[in-house]
Symmetry: C2
């Protein structure tokens, strides 16, 4: 999926919502546990109830790996369901991978070829030759961690490196990578005020913004500092939507919760 198509979907749906599928057997409604694949059943119900309100889904691989090969199978079924039923939805493997060149290529194959995600999140610590193997897949998107939503972001990401914060150095140098035009960046909603500085470095890139809801980020602030001419934002909510209820009405409750964010997004998009 191209960013052009993504922007089209955003305007069509009046939404730049990404729903995080962090599916945890301990949190889903207990009546689903009798199903053969409760994780997939839960995801399917959430997708069926919310796909018209969002433009992207983001399964975090940790929640699937925690259940071993069975969990990986649930991840496969989820992405296949999305790609078959909703090819207009942008899919993000929130995997935070990154390794030496030949190994990053294997990760890229895993997520871009085997699972056929549109994009993957990648950690920058190992530098250029750990990121470029993902960018070599030019019909896909590589979403580099810049400034994350957690407290630990202040440990290294905001430390000064040659007169500039590390996350800005990551943004700056990543622009020189081969096929850099296929980069997007993770910038946490909990650091919304930093989005202004981010936009000075990467004015045109899409930003994946986690941290709305459970983590305390503010949607209006994120839009004020982060939105560009192409919208340029995918704002993620996971727990706030998918665990809005843990009863039989979980899918409706998720839709209601997603609708609330979508309506805020609509009014942000309609601002002059």
């Amino acid at each position: 999926m191209t960013t052009h198509d993504l922007v089209k979907q955003i305007h069509l749906k009046k939404s730049f919502l990404c729903i995080g599928l962090d599916t945890d057997l301990e949190k889903i409604p207990s009546h689903l546990l009798a199903a053969e694949d409760p994780i997939f059943e839960f995801n399917k119900a959430i997708i069926d109830a919310t796909h018209h309100l969002c433009v992207a889904y983001k399964p975090n691989t940790a929640f699937y790996e925690a259940y071993g090969s069975k969990g990986w199978k649930s991840l496969e079924k989820t992405i296949n369901y999305l790609n078959t039923k909703h090819p207009d939805i942008f899919t993000i493997a929130d995997a935070k991978r990154g390794d030496i060149g030949n190994t990053s290529t294997r990760y890229a194959k895993a997520f871009f070829e085997d699972l056929a995600f549109d994009s993957i999140t990648v950690a920058p610590y190992m530098g250029k030759d750990s990121v470029e193997p993902f960018l070599a897949f030019t019909d896909k998107h590589t979403i580099l961690l810049a400034l994350t939503s957690n407290e630990g972001a202040y440990d290294y990401q905001t430390k000064m490196v040659g007169g500039v914060e590390l996350y800005k150095e990551v943004l700056r140098t990543s622009k020189t990578y081969a096929n850099a035009e296929n980069l997007m960046y993770v910038v946490g909603a909990t650091k919304a005020v930093c989005l202004k500085a981010v936009r000075e470095i990467v004015p045109n890139s899409f930003l994946l913004v986690p941290g709305i809801g459970a983590q305390g980020g503010n949607l209006e602030e994120v839009c004020r500092y982060g939105m560009n001419q192409q919208v340029g934002l995918l704002i993620n909510s996971s727990r706030g939507i998918i665990y809005a209820s843990n009863k039989k009405d979980f899918a409706e409750a998720a839709a209601k919760s997603a609708r609330k964010l979508q309506e805020q997004m609509r009014s942000e998009l309609e601002k002059p």
Copy 2:
């Protein structure tokens, strides 16, 4: 497995060799491809032929994920085989994970509980609260990336942060984490001279050293700068051992290649 037991095994086997199981269907002998699970058959043959020459195995998860849930199943079979047949071997999931707290906990469960690895490699970019969930498993080891073996290590890891290189800052601050005594660190053999500085910060920790062989690192140099009173080194070789031959003699060839490194290690251990 405790570090005390690991040190015992090192002296027993006169080896601090770690063998990287980066198993790639395009590189293994073609006669194995007819097996139901060629990846596991290959790993099993390599383990059977080399387990007396090494103290650790390190499957890199990228090579398993590239084959989807089937690949994850091969990883499960490999770790189960190691834990059942060779409980004295230290096992490393080379996964380079790291995420916000509740997500890192899921990764820790995946690799420490579901797969029952002794240790996992973890990326430091997201800071303290992304690493401590791994350290919360106090009978396990968390191997933090410090200075990696690739060229991209010079992009950020060696940049100055408050008067000190970033990788040293990572080492320094990690010592303040809860259960820091269960930390080990990745330091590439291609930067052996930096091991001296590493040892000034973490004199007692085990270091996992990749980059011998295919990547050009030198064993003797690594020992000169990196060895401590407890040996404190696990030196990894992957391709140089497991792909020593791609014919029917692949396991023997791997053993021969491992033996060569083990003999160099024996003489390093016997140095006065």
